[in-house]
Amino acid sequence: MAYEVNGKSFDSDEEGYLVDLASWNEELANLIAKDEEIEMTEEHWEVVNFLRDYYNEYQIAPAVRVLIKAVKKKLGADKGSNKYMYELFPYGPAKQACKIAGLPKPTGCV
């Protein structure tokens, strides 16, 4: 599988996760989001950018608990909840937000 953006091709695995983390860009993220039936808003970008920064620093995706805590710090208590995350990413922040952020599919519990 692959994504096509402006005539350039980006390989993905059979579930749509980007193969090369470094090849990610915002246009590609928009395309992946579209496939996931998600319209990217500022709130979505905030989560996606947080995930990328976190992955760059620690080499793994954060636990949902860590993600929620970070969002709470940044955007306030009303947004730092499971419910808020699922409103943004109905099929789960781990699966959908990581895919849009160009990160590998989260494995196991971490």
């Binding site: 620690y58 636990a63 781990a94 971490v110």
Partner: protein, 141 residues
């Protein structure tokens, strides 16, 4: 990263110790123990993360794995340092975390406390033996 399930572990806090004894990359031990530690954090358990023998190399500064085509997971230990900070600062979280390097192992390998990617307590073996004996669950690799 698990999405759907929230476990209620309130009141079930145990003392876990993770004993790291192998250098990274040569075998899978180090990575497996690290993953277990991260799960422990999700369940807000007490944790002593201990580096003994060649395990001290897991947190050695300056690792660059590009040429061997493996993930540099020394960076992931930063999460452990962060969890420890959270546990120390937040009175609502009943969670004590310690990151310990055995002094004898460190010195035998010509390393010093500032050679590590995270802040550690350097503890001699006789004292570490006592701490180990007080644990409820020990996971080693």
């Amino acid at each position: 990263m698990s999405d759907e399930i929230e476990f209620n572990t309130a009141g079930v806090t145990k003392k876990f110790m993770y004993v790291n004894r192998k250098a990274p990359y040569g075998t899978i031990y180090a990575l497996e123990v690290l993953e277990a530690v991260l799960i422990s954090a999700a369940f807000e358990q007490h944790a002593c993360i201990v580096f003994v023998d060649d395990g001290v190399y897991q947190i050695k500064k300056g690792q660059d794995t590009d040429a061997v085509n493996m993930k540099n997971f020394s960076k992931t230990y930063g999460i452990i340092a962060m969890e420890k900070e959270d546990a120390d600062e937040d009175d609502d979280i009943d969670m004590v975390w310690r990151i310990i390097v055995e002094q004898e192992s460190m010195e035998a390998r010509g390393l010093r406390a500032d050679d590590f990617v995270i802040d550690v307590e350097v503890i001699p073996s006789d004292k570490l033996a006592v701490i180990m004996s007080e644990q409820e669950i020990v996971i080693s690799g």
